[in-house]
């Protein structure tokens, strides 16, 4: 008997709740202006949070207002639905790691494969400040552009921010100790950049406290990644796959990717076109060489001698510089795990040796292992390392500004392999190892 009463009471409560909900629905007012098919000037005036006076002469708009250039700071003040907020656009020519499409008030940026074997693509919808966020992108990250506060999780992005002139938006970085870009270092010394830690040790609380519009990071698909924690905490995180580009020009093209967040497409186009021109002229310069000197890379870590694959970034540069990389026939874009014997056997007579660990002198090489002295390149002194521009903490500018200076990297290599082609070029990133001090 008591059970029946309880059931009846529950049913009654349920019925009342349902009735209440039913009554509430018809009275809800649709407040989003984007549901309206046509935008009249009066509605635009009430939607935009500015005090622009409504136009007195109000013909039905047959032509949408057009902007002369992208909005570089702040919000767009006179948005009319359907207008093109981004008259300056980029197209992705060489890079394969990202795509962008333009849709009036927003751009859709996709990173199909942020790391090798990534299980999903990452989509970012960049909508102009002052316009309503577009619907229908539940899976994507919506970001209002131009962004105003940025956290960078790699030194690779610093030089690009500097080149675009937006370093003043940098409020946080994984670490400033290894940065070489002057404007960033100066800003860090002034206390304007907060260090947030790297990889999976990123200090999420610190990042949230900085209230960034965007955190620029990369993923490797393993437990050292910082983005899972950041995404979980609701921080707007953008994954860059720039490091996966095997071609140096494609990697440099990612300056357009960064520019998209700042509406600085015009600037990025100018910069990249100049890079392409310089790079191409260097390729043409070295294209007709008759002799290609042999070269091998790196030094062993313990028992393993990592050697760049034949389709890797470095291999591309060496080929373009007119050298014969001993592992250029390999088809892998990743590093090969070789051992001392194998490299010794194939590279004993090679003419050049590049990218030698952290060494700056031949003494260091010999001290590491006296067998390095057997290599022909060692004996002729043709050993070069890409650590000429290293800051006191060990941060190497090759990986920082090098990204947007593939032409300088190529010029350095041409100067090394074919000095007669560029006699006046001073090495920017590379240095020849200092000769032996004894015997």
């Amino acid at each position: 008997m008591r059970t029946l009463r309880h059931h009846l009471f529950a049913l009654l409560v349920l019925a009342l709740v349902l009735a209440g909900c039913g009554r509430a629905t018809p009275t809800a007012v649709p407040s989003s202006p984007t549901s309206e098919p046509t935008a009249t000037p009066e509605q635009v005036a009430t939607a935009a949070p500015t005090d622009t006076p409504p136009p007195t002469d109000v013909p039905e708009p047959t032509e949408l207002p057009s902007l002369e250039s992208n909005v570089l700071t702040g919000a767009l003040e006179s948005y009319v639905e359907g207008m093109d907020c981004f008259p300056e656009k980029v197209t992705v020519d060489d890079a394969t790691g990202f795509e962008v499409t333009y849709h009036g008030s927003y751009k859709v940026v996709t990173v199909p494969e942020a790391w090798a074997g990534a299980d999903r693509a990452y989509t970012y919808v960049l909508y102009q400040r002052g316009t309503p966020p577009p619907d229908g992108f539940d899976d994507a990250t919506l970001i209002a552009v131009p962004v105003e506060r940025v956290v960078s999780m790699s030194t690779s992005y610093l030089a690009q921010l500097d080149l675009l002139g937006v370093v003043d938006t940098l409020v946080g970085a994984d670490s400033v100790a290894y940065a070489s870009t002057h404007s960033v270092v100066a800003r860090a010394e002034a206390g304007e950049i907060i260090e947030v830690g790297y990889g999976s040790d990123v200090n999420v609380e610190q990042v949230i406290d900085l209230d960034p519009s965007v955190v620029l990071t990369y993923g490797l698909g393993d437990e050292w990644d910082s983005h899972p924690k950041l995404l979980e905490a609701g921080v707007t995180t953008v994954l860059s796959a720039e490091a996966r580009e095997a071609d140096p020009l494609s990697r440099a093209e990612w300056i357009k990717f960064i520019a998209l967040f700042y509406n600085r497409e015009a600037q990025a186009n100018e910069i990249f076109d100049a890079i392409v021109e310089r790079y191409q002229s260097l390729i043409d310069l070295a294209a007709d060489v008759t002799e290609r000197p042999t070269v091998f890379l790196n030094a062993p870590w313990g028992d393993t001698w990592y050697m760049a694959g034949g389709q890797s970034y470095v291999a591309h540069l060496l080929r373009a510089a007119g050298a014969d990389y001993l592992w250029s026939e390999d088809t892998s874009p990743d590093a090969l795990y070789l051992d001392f014997e194998t490299v010794y056997d194939q590279a004993l007579d090679a003419e050049y040796w590049l990218h030698t660990s952290t060494w700056s002198t031949l003494d260091e090489a010999l001290a590491m292992d006296e067998r390095f002295g057997d290599f022909a390149a060692f004996q002729s002194g043709q050993v070069y390392n890409n650590n000429l521009r290293t800051n006191p903490s060990g941060g190497n500018d090759y990986w920082e500004s090098g990204v947007i200076n593939p032409d300088l990297m190529l010029a350095d290599l041409i100067r090394i392999f074919h000095p007669e082609l560029l006699p006046d070029h001073d090495l920017v990133y590379y240095q020849q190892l200092a000769p032996l001090t004894q015997e």
Partner: protein, 364 residues
């Protein structure tokens, strides 16, 4: 240090294979060792025809200059290092198992390996990579010897602490203290790792994989002298080690100077383990598995058999592990420690699950 007839009698009571079988086993082991040594010279990631290898070993030149150099400056010192390191680790592990009466004791139980790791970490993971390299270069200390020297200093520091403790505390306490020292030093290494950049971390981690290949002829004399001295010392300690098997109280009643004996066993084991770790990085499992294999094969706990047997078996297994890690014919290389674990762990499992003679006579 004179053996008494009573001690001999009780030892001969231990069950073991007949003397003839024992000699056959030794003979077989020596043959296996020689074969493994020759295989190490003949096989590697670069395929060198056997006749070329023989020609180089006989003092001639191979068809290719690089082959001569590979056999003489790479494979030969590597094989020699494996022999010395394998023997040293096995004998060191055996002594630790006897001393602590613990079948799972290994050379690193006193924290010596951890001390060596701390020494290496202090050099490799110091804040400024570039500065550290130039510092070493300016001191005219060869870079790699810098690693060896720092590992030795680290190991020696821990050894001194352990030696002082060994005079005053009993065995069980020493075991626990050694383990705690190990944990402490590993904690410091962790903190150093945390604050290091990727390159430094990678350099340190590469060192922890263990390798017989990094010892060159220039460094060989130190390794050879230290290991051989340690091995000879172990032979001299045989009687004391056998006495330990019967319990410290009994040994003392037989006239063995227990304190001095303990000190020497600790020193010897630490010398062997520290030397190998300094030159090859921390190498695991050989020290634990080899003594058990020998006990099972010879059916005895008598150190007169076990010390030479462990030395030979350790050398042979080290050579085989190195061969397996090299993956002959392919250019890739696996970390040595992974292979020793793959070989050693099943052995330990098998031994523990079997009923072995050591339980009857060893007093575990």
């Amino acid at each position: 240090m004179t053996a008494t007839t009573e001690t001999h009698a009780s030892l001969e009571d231990l069950p073991r294979r007949s003397a003839a079988l024992s000699r056959v086993a030794f003979g077989g082991l020596v043959v296996a060792l020689v074969l493994a040594f020759l295989l190490s010279l003949a096989l590697g990631s670069v395929q060198i025809p056997l006749d070329q290898v023989v020609r180089v070993l006989a003092g001639g030149d191979a068809a290719r200059d690089s082959w001569t150099k590979i056999v003489l400056t790479y494979r030969l010192p590597k094989a020699l290092t494996a022999v010395l390191a394998g023997a040293a680790l096995a004998v060191s592990g055996l002594q630790m198992q006897t001393f602590f009466r613990n079948p799972l004791a290994d050379p690193s139980i006193l924290g010596i390996n951890a001390g060596a790791s701390l020494g290496v970490a202090a050099v490799v993971l110091s804040a400024k990579t570039v500065a550290a390299n130039t510092l070493l270069a300016n001191l005219d200390v060869p870079g790699h010897l810098g690693l060896v020297a720092s590992a030795t200093i680290g190991a020696a520091l821990v050894l001194v602490v352990v030696m002082v403790l060994a005079r005053y505390v009993n065995t069980l306490t020493l075991l626990i203290l050694g383990m705690m020292i190990g944990y402490l030093t590993n904690a410091v290494v962790s903190v150093l790792l945390y604050f290091s950049i990727a390159d430094q971390v990678r350099a340190y981690v590469s060192w922890t994989f263990g390798s017989f290949a990094s010892v060159t002829w220039r460094q060989m004399p130190v390794l050879a002298v230290a290991s051989l001295v340690g091995l000879c010392l172990a032979f001299l300690l045989i009687k004391w080690l056998n006495a330990f098997l019967l319990g410290e109280g009994y040994a003392q009643s037989m006239g063995m100077p227990v304190r001095r004996a303990r000190l020497w066993v600790v020193i010897n084991s630490a010398l062997l383990a520290g030397t190998v770790t300094a030159f090859c990085g921390p190498i695991g499992f050989l020290g634990v598995a080899v003594p058990h294999l020998c006990r099972a094969l010879w059916g005895t706990a008598d150190h007169r058999i076990l010390i030479p047997a462990s030395a030979l078996m350790g050398a042979a297994l080290a050579l085989l592990a190195d061969l397996a890690a090299q993956m002959p014919g392919s250019a890739t290389v696996l970390p040595l420690n992974a292979i020793t674990a793959l070989l050693g762990a099943p052995v330990v499992i098998w031994v523990i699950l079997r009923r072995t003679p050591m339980r009857a006579g060893g007093g575990w």
